[in-house]
């Protein structure tokens, strides 16, 4: 019940295309859903986060879509750039608790 399932494991997109990464969770108590970006040799960096009272949140080229009834959320990267090539992690947690549950990650490669 504590798992967060992320897909796909890897993704190759052409420059200018749309990258879509999906996550599903089981614990209905989760009320905080962040996405992190990690480059090799670096720690994860927060990209964007959403709470379940909102169905969509957009920040620049990054958009989170959230479907509470399906217990799913996704990250869309518009106009993908080679500099977006990194590993992306979705995560979920309860704001009253101290921990986040991370997905296994999606390695994104954007080809020029």
């Amino acid at each position: 019940q504590q798992q967060v399932k992320q897909s796909p494991q890897s993704l190759i997109v052409q420059k200018g295309g749309i990258s879509i990464i999906n996550c599903a969770y089981e614990n209905t108590a989760f009320d905080y859903f962040p996405w992190y970006q990690q480059f090799p040799g670096k720690g994860p960096a927060l990209l964007i986060a959403i709470r379940p009272d909102v169905s969509e949140k957009k920040e620049g080229r990054f958009t989170i879509s959230f479907n509470k009834s399906a217990k799913q959320f996704s990250l869309h990267i518009m106009d993908s750039q080679p500099g977006d090539s990194a590993t992306y992690f979705c995560a979920a947690g309860e704001r009253s608790q101290g921990n986040l549950i991370f997905g296994k990650g999606t390695k994104l490669s954007v080809k020029p």
Binding site: G41, G43, L46, A49, K104
Partner: protein
């Protein structure tokens, strides 16, 4: 403004030994969390410290222990190292916001621990 700093960056230890990893939180942050990231996996929560106390703990054995100091810095100790403890250990800091423990986490670049 210094972000989260961790030391050392790399460490090689032998099975059965003990190790201490260190973390200085981002300026203005008072809460420190530790995560273990195995190769090709997402980070796994070990524990969180606030006000020098362990507030939450993940599914890790007692061999993993920690400490937070009055200046908010933190240490992670692992005793009786196993080969399976080889991983990237990440420290993340945040600001306590009442019931909202999950204020944005700022991660350091981690300590790569190799157990041989």
């Amino acid at each position: 403004d210094a972000g989260v700093t961790q030391s050392p960056t790399h460490l090689i230890k032998t099975r059965g030994q003990q190790v201490t990893l260190r973390c200085s939180p981002k300026s203005g942050h008072d809460t420190v969390s530790w995560y273990q990231q195995a190769l090709g996996q997402g980070p796994q929560f070990i524990f969180q410290y606030y006000e020098e106390e362990e507030r939450q703990r993940g599914n890790f054995p007692d061999r993993f222990s920690g400490h937070q100091f009055p200046n908010y810095s933190s240490e992670l100790n692992v005793n009786a190292l196993l080969l399976g403890d080889s991983a990237l250990y990440l420290c993340a800091s945040s600001v306590y916001q009442g019931a909202n423990y999950n204020s944005p986490l700022h991660f350091g670049n981690g300590t790569r621990l190799t157990v041989t």
